[in-house]
């Protein structure tokens, strides 16, 4: 029973309402796409939580290295001019 017979890992994303972004809700085990979709419906939307479901195999997700986050995101650190608060606007100027 120690053989790997529990299927593969899939990550599940749910859109709560039309127009909203899909958000990660959790993962599940399944053997194929069709079964993954049915399991996601039964597991994550038992109370009408979803308008739509996305599923992706966990092994297909590319993620940044959390332990190396600082260096990785460093290029944007010194570009404060990308933020609106960087700019001084004369007093009295409105709607900008």
């Amino acid at each position: 029973m120690s053989d790997e017979d529990q299927g593969v890992l899939w990550e599940v994303f749910i859109q709560v309402k039309a127009g909203r972004p899909y958000k990660h809700v959790g993962s599940l085990h399944a053997y194929d796409k069709e079964m993954a979709m049915k399991a996601a419906r039964d597991l994550y939307t038992r109370r009408n939580e979803g308008n739509g479901i996305w599923i992706v195999k966990a092994e297909d997700i590319i993620s940044s290295d959390v332990n190396d986050g600082e260096a990785f995101f460093d290029p944007s650190n010194d570009k404060i001019y990308r933020h609106p608060t960087f700019y001084k606007i004369p007093e009295g100027v409105k709607h900008i």
Binding site: E4, D5, L9, Y31, L43, V66
Partner: protein, 313 residues
């Protein structure tokens, strides 16, 4: 030395309230504690389906049957959320099941007690799920991200369980003399086991201090137990039924209910697997797992065939 620096940084993160995620560095003991605790929690949800499944075919109405079915489906879902959270710590699902079947992993001993009457479905929902909710609400703030997120989902779903249990108790408490007696008998049998669900006293609990320091647990066993007792006694008054503890009374100095000493011999007896239901629960799980073997094999064969087709297309 490096480990000590890492350990300090880790503790600092915990103290700052930053969640630990699967790929973050963590002390081996933190990982092991979580593997034990989350898988035990998952097994409890799954084994917990059995005493309720016992009543599915005999629920007194179609309404109660549908509700009980929905509740059992929730327990299965909660078990799966928790297995997924536990797997992020680097242990495979197959391994968790093997440890359960070999008796190396525990589940909450409360599920080893039999559910003898329909009133037990009320008492289990009200008291056992009620105790579980107190514990789980606290665990929403646990330091391990995947565990905390699973707890948030579980807590949202779990409150229906307690309310449906209480509804059964209300119906029986307002019913015939026999029904009242049945409800009282269920409270008499489930009260102490539900109190024991919070585990040993703080002074006796082997894992508590480190777990609190690492915020795996946010409150101690005794704090959680007291919270459960305080709110449950008040609910019991509405039923007009009693609790099987003559020393249960409100203490105006502590603002909490006092209660009798707990019979820990019985607790340890049941934890160590001597409970009447322990062998039955495990055997049932093993049988269900073995009976499902051909389904898993067929599913694997089918997925291979589908993959092959897609590649050749």
């Amino acid at each position: 030395m490096e480990d000590e620096i890492k350990l300090n940084q880790f503790q600092q993160k915990i103290d700052d309230g930053i969640k630990i995620e699967p790929k973050d560095w963590m002390p081996e003991k933190y990982r092991q504690t979580l593997i034990r605790q989350i898988s035990q929690h998952a097994h409890s949800e799954i084994i917990g389906m059995q005493p309720e499944g016992n009543w599915l075919t005999r629920a007194p109405s179609l309404r109660s049957k549908k509700i009980l079915m929905a509740k059992i489906q929730d327990e299965a879902g909660h078990g799966l959320y928790l297995y997924c959270a536990a797997e992020t710590l680097g242990v495979k699902r197959e391994q968790f099941l093997q440890w359960l079947h070999e008796g190396k992993a525990k589940y909450s001993s409360v599920f080893n007690y039999p559910t003898l009457t329909w009133a037990d479905m009320g008492a289990v929902g009200w008291l056992v799920d009620g105790a579980a909710i107190v514990n789980q609400v606290s665990l929403q703030g646990t330091s391990y991200g995947p565990y905390a997120r699973a707890m948030v989902k579980i807590c949202m779903e779990e409150s229906f369980h307690q309310r449906q249990g209480f509804e059964i108790m209300v119906q029986l408490a307002n019913g015939t003399d026999e029904q009242k007696e049945m409800a009282q008998d269920a409270i008499n049998r489930w009260w102490w086991p539900s109190i024991m669900m919070f585990g040993p006293h703080d002074s006796e609990s082997a894992h508590s201090n480190q777990s609190l320091k690492w915020k795996i647990k946010r409150e101690s066993n005794d704090e959680l137990r007291q919270r459960f007792i305080d709110k449950t006694i008040e609910q019991g008054h509405h039923l007009g039924l009693t609790f099987p503890d003559p020393n249960l009374k409100f203490n105006y100095e502590t603002n909490h209910y006092d209660y009798s000493p707990i019979d820990w011999d019985e607790f340890w007896n049941v934890v160590k697997g001597n409970g009447a239901g322990n062998r039955q629960r495990l055997n049932h799980h093993i049988k269900a797992h073995d009976d499902g073997k051909w389904v898993r094999e067929a599913a694997i064969a089918y997925s291979k065939k589908v993959n092959l087709k897609q590649k050749s297309a």
